[in-house]
Subunit: 350 residues, 4 copies
């Protein structure tokens, strides 16, 4: 029986507690929060769980094997490092840390101690993303051409992070999970409309070594909510609309056919000649049935299984690090007029 | 009675002929095309119009006062310059020319000869864009924060121009018409998936001197057709969806309110304190009735009025030049890894 | 301080408890359910509320002033009558009773004892329906021409009531609240696809004395979920789509104009002549901001206010009776091949 | 080479002429219309076609083998009967005639003379309806449970026919083509909002001998345009939305499973026990690629093939008669307070 301790009982913490509470093979032992009122609420809801005002007591508790951290980003590193040093497995909210260096240290520490380091990239446990992962991995889409995502709404403006860290983190975690290739460079543009506040609009472009391209548009100041991703492949294409109550993932049997037959006679720039070589396919559309299970429930079961059977979680520290690296690079580019930021220049191997 | 000659009777030319044909105050005198079959078709439909195999005869025809040019982009400059030199008013298909220098020369020649030089930015004559123009100009939206457009589909791949010149030209003509400010720099990223062919995906960012930002996403290889523009203002925001059969323009009385009251006591990074200063407004949504008249009919009437009464057309040579300048800068940036291209660096004043 | 007792802690009961719990001016004293496990759950969540296995104890409890009944329909009458006889105010789930006679008796008993009898027509307390009520009442729509509702999905088949009692009850409660006129006759058609089970498809038509018409389509066996109501008026028309996350109510400034000018010269059947007399108006569309407050919270506050200040609730026993009368008539018509059932023939004045 | 003559060159006639004009194996010989201006227009467009002021000349023309009739409904019978008597094959606009008796006489006359009598039920030649026909005929949907159609808009009010004859005729032609069973009775309700004018709202229910039900809602006075049909089957269900630019037909692998295992122990009304016997299936959604060819082009080719090879057309006189019979019965029911009209009672075998 894995003992679980949760630090942070604000917005997301209660969801972690509820899901670990209902996950077989583990037991939520303690919850910690600086806010006394939240602990009262946790206690009322779960009389068997210890409310712990000082997180150090939770980390030191020998009954706790897994520490789940749902606190502000700036505290992730310290809390996680302390818990690792106490020999605890870790689950951290996304983004894993506030910078690449911290993320790397956590990855190294966990590796050295042979502890599980997981990041709560919840979206990769949704039925929709799991289905898309299967479609990409099976080769049904063919070569991936592009990944394009729009995630905008009239949002809760954050004050400590910009819109890329707040919203694009979701897209990056999904992209990291779905795409076989990794970006090698990032460029980004953004703008803040409230003086002194971080950027509330961001456009981030991801460059790859191969003929793949990714782009994410995030915006806290949009009149409508949009959560829509297009994935283009050489064989099929996907529209993933997370706001659709059903048919979230649609697979289009559409594309182009390029006739690569020798056309030696044509002069360069002979548009007419080329034109005959490109064709369009348009077939059926298919919306596969999506598993509607709560993503976090799938995740907590998976994590307990990883600890119990010594497996690497789907969204591990490396995934968390890769996403933080992209977020950091995007922000660096945004602050430098969209200058391309090579990921190797961050001093970290991709 | 203004005499009109149309060069090019391929895809768009017949629409020009039909609309000028039905416009009071003018008369379509001649149509020219290299393709004999097309001339036969024009003749069958309009027995009163002269089919002219050699465009030079059309340009030289003293009955022709306005030459409308609907041929491939690479021919625009030569045809227009010849016609201007024969003292003809000009309407050119968009994009006006293939490069900035040509566009400038046409603008100068027309100015010197006091001839009308119009570019067929058809969208600015639609009911939807005219309504949005009124909304922006009246100040109803407040300060403009951003302009974001997505124009994607499984498209007719072009061979002589990339997707930005083919699709983004529409957005740029609309943006040029709607926004009070002009971009000062452009950056762009794009990718081609067919070897030897131009880019079929493009993301173009437009930078301004003020706190405005514009972005256009164009793609010939998308599974679904999208024509959607978001315009954010400090007071109201617009969603313009050109595929909606009705309610193309929706005005959202939504936004943020920023309390600029002194908050001197707060420590840096005190998110809680800041958080109270940003509020959200969410009011009614309003879809104004849109004039459904054919845009090209509005345009041809407008142009005949301009010639008759010596007025400057809404989409004049300057507008055509500005759009070409943006297209050229976007392509330059795309070919240089997204490097920012300052518009003054193009040697042209914005 | 009004004491509230809730009978039934199954699907809806917990919502009643939660909302009364948070309503100022009242206190939830006791909850009753035949199922012991549910009482344990209620106790765990609300330690201050008494779990009462025998509802008679709840009804007899002098601390209870208002009894809320959320049990199967067939038990409503007995529970409510017993509670009324103990001098309690009543809130009953919809439909109020299983037949008209029971509903009438409850109305009479409550009137005699001067007790509040309310029916939980939750929809009439939603922001959307309240907004539509204002629009109808203010005369903005003009004369009401029709009310048309579709409420279909792949549903939980019920075994004790047909789809009309299960789904159309919502529409009838809304219609009863919105329309100034009352139906005078009902006809209905329906079909059951599972032998021995009640009808799972129903089409119900409501006839009025005036030029109004209402129709409700309900279906438990539809591939998609639809919740859409059209309300036609002589001046404006409404589309109410309850599945829209925003813009649930759209007001269309559309309609026909009938030129009633004397046209004495025309012969009967002269279509051409008539044709010139009918015109079409098409103006703006407007989606008013809708109060997003939880309907049940609005309702519980309203009911406590009614008891405290001796007012008649919006959805009172008369409203509950009128809805039951329509449901009964619809079922009678359905079982008689769609024969028109006059509402006066039910022996009840409308 | 089949010679074609078209009578009526108003709204639909030009479409007939254009499509026959482009159909191999036939030649449009003559067009007739009472309106001289329309004949001028036809002549200008098709110089090879004879404009014929008097339709009798067209009917008598020995070069004409097929007479297509696109005139007001009230003239269909006379024109068609005269043409049949001159030995011509016939295509008549829908609805075929204004009453059942006329339709029967035309069917009999055509049969006696061994001439083709076709009705222009254009929808049955669309890619969408042909695809649905295949799905129904192949048994993929299982047993058909219901057919439900909504066809509403702010429409052109007609003066000589009510909304059922004008709009429901489309649904009836589709239903007649798709459903294996034929209705045995009809009931309908409707209302007119303009004094002296026909009904502008109609609800028509079709009853069958088997457990099938059909319903059509038509309305000329709706704020939005809807063209949506639901078809429920025991295995799969269809949503057919004719306004969707793509994905017009969606097939839902959804439904209920009924466990018919003996449940001898249960008492009547024991909902719990029954409840366990009904299950819900929810699988993939599939939007098959639809042939986008113009329906009328498919139809004209089919008709020329039928004449040439002596085949019976898909939409023959019998189909036209069946649809007229349903329209007549619906109107009869509407004028009799929704009384069920048995189709055998119309004196016509179904």
């Amino acid at each position: 029986m894995i003992g679980v301790g949760v630090i942070g009982y604000g917005y997301w913490g209660p969801n972690l507690v509820r899901n670990f509470y209902e996950t077989p093979g583990c037991r939520v032992v303690a919850v910690s929060d600086l806010n006394a009122e939240r602990l009262v609420r946790a206690r009322a809801r779960y009389p068997t769980i210890d409310p712990v005002p000082d997180y150090r007591d939770l980390i030191a508790d020998p009954r706790v094997h897994l520490v789940a951290i749902a606190t502000p980003v700036c505290t992730h590193y310290d809390l996680a490092m302390q818990a690792l040093r106490m020999g605890k497995h870790i689950l951290i909210e996304k983004p894993m840390t506030g910078d690449v260096e911290q993320a790397q240290r956590l990855v190294e520490e966990a590796a050295r101690r042979k502890l599980m380091l997981a990041v709560d990239h919840t979206f990769v446990y949704t039925g929709a993303v799991r289905k898309m992962r299967d479609l990409v991995a099976s080769g049904d889409l063919g070569d991936i051409y592009y990944y394009d995502s729009v995630r905008v709404n009239l949002g809760l403006f954050q004050h400590d992070v910009n819109v890329v860290w707040d919203l694009a983190v979701h897209d990056l975690s999904i992209m990291d999970h779905l795409l076989p290739a990794r970006p090698v460079a990032v460029s980004a543009a953004g703008l803040g409309h409230i003086p002194g506040e971080p950027e509330n609009i961001g456009y981030v472009t991801f460059h790859f070594d191969s003929a793949v391209m990714a782009h994410v548009h995030v915006n806290w100041l949009a009149p409508v909510k949009v959560r829509r991703t297009l994935i283009g492949g050489s064989k099929k294409m996907i529209v993933y609309d997370d706001l659709e109550p059903s048919e979230k993932v649609k697979v289009y049997d559409k594309g182009i056919t390029v006739n690569s037959a020798p056309s030696d006679g044509h002069a360069p720039g002979n548009g007419q000649r080329y034109a005959m070589l490109v064709g369009y396919r348009s077939g059926d559309v298919w919306a596969p049935q999506i598993d509607g299970a709560e993503a976090l429930a799938v995740e907590t079961r998976h994590l307990i299984d990883c600890i119990t059977n010594n497996k690497t979680p789907i969204a591990d520290g490396e995934a968390g690090l890769r996403v933080v690296r992209l977020l950091e690079a995007a922000t660096e580019s945004m602050r430098n007029s969209g200058r391309i930021v090579e990921l190797s220049r961050s001093g970290v191997s991709a």
